[in-house]
């Protein structure tokens, strides 16, 4: 690696917002997103599994207590929001919350840290926060979308689902409009779910990168408040993704 002339601002920003891509066209893979999310997932859920295996019914340690609090939070949300009976919703909600939170939390690392480490071993690009990659957020929201479809068919059967699609909200006489509305409504769900998370995290990352362009002795003045504020945002976005998933699946279970 040669000590080249300092990059211009736009080069710097562009560099930080470029994924490590393998392949060309549609059939390419953002390797950094896949690897980072998989590794973080393994670490966090492996950790949770080890805590769960060692869990005691007596006095919990701090780690177990923390996990219990998160579990209770998720369970309360599911109980309050979801009225069907399905074993998948609570574990799904917990997985989404923990995973999204973990991936979002990578945003708090200094923006140059991981690219620097990766650069030192010759990897040109490494966008560290997977949730700033729409591929990941859409992958999650489309999974939720298919779960919605699956439970719609499972709970209401084909006939019931079709009846709902064609008669709600305007009644049987307006069936084409009902169908159109339903299509828009259902397609908007995964799109908004994915874009909300992506947009928030991408914008947050962008602000961090912009702050990194300030003179070094000034960066803390903006960077520190933004990072502190970001603790709230990463939690909130993880929570929103989780709660919307629960709501969508709850709607899939309920007949209108």
């Amino acid at each position: 690696m040669t000590e080249s002339a300092a990059p211009t601002s736009s080069e710097y920003i562009h560099h930080h917002l470029t994924n490590l891509v393998i392949g060309h066209g549609f059939w390419s893979i953002d390797l950094d997103t896949v690897v980072t999310s998989a590794v973080m997932g393994l670490i966090v859920f492996g950790f949770l599994a080890s805590v769960a295996r060692r869990a005691t019914s007596g006095i919990p340690g701090r780690v177990q207590a923390a996990l219990e609090i998160v579990l209770e939070m998720v369970q309360t949300q599911v109980r309050d929001t979801f009225h069907g009976d399905s074993g998948i919703v609570a574990p799904l909600a917990l997985t989404i919350f923990v995973w999204v939170f973990t991936l979002n939390a990578l945003d708090l690392l200094p923006v140059d840290l991981v690219p620097l480490i990766m650069g030192s071993v010759g990897i040109e690009h490494w966008k560290v926060v997977p949730t700033t990659d729409p591929n990941l957020t859409f992958a999650m929201s489309i999974t939720v979308f298919f779960l919605m479809l699956f439970y719609n068919f499972k709970v209401k059967k084909f006939g019931g689902f079709m009846h709902e699609v064609l008669t709600v909200p305007f009644g049987a006489k307006m069936a084409p409009f009902n169908l159109l509305f339903r299509l828009i409504e259902d397609l908007a769900k995964p799109v908004s779910l994915a874009l909300r998370l992506f947009g928030n995290m991408y914008a947050g990352e962008m602000v961090f990168i912009l702050i990194a362009l300030l003179p070094p002795y000034l960066q803390w003045a903006l960077g520190a408040p933004w990072a502190i504020f970001h603790i709230l945002i990463i939690t909130l976005q993880a929570f929103i993704f989780m709660i919307l998933t629960i709501i969508y699946l709850s709607m899939a279970h309920e007949s209108h």
Binding site: A6, R62, D112, A212, P216
Partner: protein
């Protein structure tokens, strides 16, 4: 890729974030965790205490029951003893009374006998006199045999 002072700026920012987290985020979280652990510990302790109290109460109630049983047995024994005493006493009194009644009756009978014997003697004497009179009226002068008759009467 180039390394420059931006790194220091980010390091400072990160350090402030870490400081902030240590100072304002971590303590309440840990406090909440400890609070939870404490509550659970207290709950478990209370349950344990409750169990012990229950065991103690069981022992106490057993003791009280045993005591009551012993007392009841004692009362029964006492009352049996008392009952026997009463029966014995009544029997003694009855015996005394019976003896007294018997003695009285015997005395009365003896007096009756004496009285009857007296009456009988007088009647026999009279009969003897009458008989003797009837025999002797023809042959004996009452005046001549008066001494003899008186002597016989006295002898009877």
């Amino acid at each position: 890729m180039n390394i420059n002072a931006t790194l220091f700026g980010q390091a400072i920012t990160f350090a402030i974030l870490i400081w902030f987290t240590m100072k304002f985020v971590w303590p309440p979280v840990v406090a909440a965790l400890d609070e939870r652990a404490k509550k659970i510990a207290e709950g478990l302790e209370a349950a344990e205490r409750g169990k012990q109290d229950l065991a103690k109460a069981g022992v106490r109630s057993q003791e009280a029951m045993n005591e009551a049983k012993a007392q009841a047995a004692e009362i029964i024994a006492q009352s049996e003893r008392r009952g026997q005493e009463i029966v014995q006493q009544a029997r003694d009194e009855a015996l005394v009374e019976a003896a007294r009644v018997k003695a009285q009756a015997q005395a009365e009978v003896e007096q009756e006998v004496i009285r009857a014997r007296e009456t009988l003697r007088n009647r026999v004497a009279d009969l003897a006199m009458a008989g003797a009179e009837k025999i002797l009226r023809r042959e004996i002068n009452p005046q001549a045999h008066a001494d003899l008759l008186t002597a016989i009467q006295a002898e009877l």
